[in-house]
């Protein structure tokens, strides 16, 4: 079986996201077991330090084009095709981001490669590539076998240890041609950086996050009251933002912000993978959700299987007593 591995090192502006090193760490382990050749596709321009940081790989394919800073799915797709033509991967590893997910599906559709999304683990076996995909809002794990190559895997952040892929070395840099999109079916016209929020959530030591279980916009008020007592800020999971109950600047998760507060309290959040990606590294996670089997309790340090709307008023009252006695 072809065990060559190609890692797509997506980045939008500067710096290399941690997920890339997670993928490299896993690739390195597979390479040790199967003698795999590892290549990295990096949208450039790339510094010598960045190339050297991919020491787990044999070569780094650098592609410089406008799409590196204002990416489009089709622009990136062409670079992935170019890289795949050069390296003939049996396994194409991509982060499960909003851009790479588009590119992965289009690549699979173009080539007939098998695609598995939301992966949290994978392996090379005698029968083919096995992968574990987290589905149904994080409640069900699906183990699949892909018995032909190449397999394309979109991997969730946090699946592997980042430090395993942080190996400095001297991989060969290879410059890829800039993609040419003759028919210009799509072009990026503007990159819009994150809007400056009213609160810098990344700097807040205490975050109180609300999810669908908060039921309506008005109920967020009581959580804001609690946040003010804890010197924290209110943020939210995707459904709350989509309902327009809080601005986009307050969203935590895959397409929102990644945060690492000292304390993260989740109210009425089930813990879908898209949300967990953004908050799993908090120092202390406390989750309150009516469903005792909710995935959020797998990442929380403390859990309460109850309605957040019952617990928050009680907590406010208990905090009043603390204030009165201090």
């Amino acid at each position: 079986m072809n065990t060559n591995i190609l890692v797509y090192a997506e980045r939008l502006r500067s710096g290399i996201p941690g997920i890339v090193y997670e993928l490299l760490g896993k690739a390195r382990a597979l390479a040790e077991a199967h003698g795999s050749d590892i290549s990295v596709l990096l949208p450039g321009p790339a510094t010598e330090e960045e190339v050297a940081s991919f020491g787990a790989a044999h070569r780094v394919l650098i592609v410089e084009h406008d799409a590196a800073t204002s990416p489009t799915p089709e622009g990136m797709l062409q670079s992935v095709h170019d890289a795949a033509a050069l390296t003939q991967p049996g396994l194409l590893l991509m982060p499960a981001t909003t851009l790479a997910s588009d590119v992965a599906a289009l690549f699979a559709a173009d080539t007939g490669a098998r695609l598995v999304t939301n992966c949290i683990d994978f392996d090379i076996t005698h029968d083919g590539i096995t992968a574990c995909s987290r589905q149904y809002g994080g409640k069900i794990l699906v183990d699949v076998l892909v018995d032909s190559t190449p397999a394309v895997l979109c991997v969730l952040a946090g699946a592997f240890q980042e430090q395993e892929g942080c190996v400095t070395g001297t991989p060969s840099p290879v410059k890829l041609p800039s993609p040419v999109l003759p028919d210009q079916r799509m072009r990026a016209t503007r990159f819009i950086p994150p809007a400056p929020g009213d609160v810098d959530l990344a700097q807040m030591p205490v975050l109180l996050s609300v999810g669908r279980g908060i039921q309506n916009k008005e109920n967020i008020g009581i959580v804001e009251e609690l946040a003010s007592k804890l010197n924290g800020a209110v943020c939210a999971s995707r459904p709350v933002i989509d309902q327009g109950w809080l601005p986009l600047t307050r969203q935590i998760g895959r397409s929102g912000l990644m945060v690492k507060p000292r304390v993260y309290m989740a109210f009425g959040i089930s813990g879908a993978p898209e949300h967990v990606e953004g908050m799993k590294d908090a120092g202390l996670i406390i989750a309150i959700n009516t469903d005792r089997t909710a995935p959020i309790f797998n990442v929380a340090h403390y859990g309460v299987a109850a309605d957040a709307l019952d617990v928050v008023p009680a907590l406010l009252e208990a905090l009043e007593n603390v204030v009165q006695h201090t």
Binding site: P73, S101, T189, A195, A300, D310, E317
Partner: protein
Amino acid sequence: MDILVFLKQVPDLVEELEIDAGGTTLDSTWLRYIPSEYDEHALEQALLLKERHGGTVHVVTIDIGEADDMLYSALAKGADSAGKITADFSDGASSTRLATALQDTVCTHPYDVILTGVQSIDDVEGPTGAFLARGLGIPYVGSVNGVSVNGDAGRALVRKEYPGGAFSEIEVHLPALIGIQAAEQPPRYVPISRIRQTKAQAHISEYAAPETAHPTWGRVLSMRKVESTGSAVMLDGDPGAVAQQLVDILQEHNVLR
């Protein structure tokens, strides 16, 4: 402007999901289907485009679960016509199979814009929209939360989300397929009475998908419920007792001063 919206039903996660005895599919005995949340946003975005630019919105789904109810609801919200793809989906409805079925049936009509949810909670294989777009030879952009159309120029301007709250505006030639992450406003509410009224008057078309061999992408070896890792220490008691325990924990972690 002719707009097609592909809607899909997914298991309601509020219900307990059970795995069947074979261990490779969900037990459908007690499965309750609901419209995929992202697809509801796709419908909302389509209705907003129709309100701004005119044209028609055609909604389509596959004939499983409560397909008719979902389509009647879409019609009551403002869709102009509805249809469902009939085929034996008992052995699953993978994204590539859905894309093939759509391509062979409703997509023989040249729509200007095709919208669908960017993903669903059971997309092991990836987004249906990307596979369909490739089959139709039209551009695809996913994770979009805003669409404007310049019909005269034959282009759409979409707002694509990136991690960390960043966006990119991408100009796309029409026809195009767009995977919606969120509509520009929350999906509209429609009263039950209007759905009932629609049900009495509306017609749902049926498209028989050819019984050709559909593409397979691999094999499900097993499905497992995510077992609790036991990492969370569960706090029990009435809200007052739980609150006191939480205060103690917050004090231990120096959150309270």
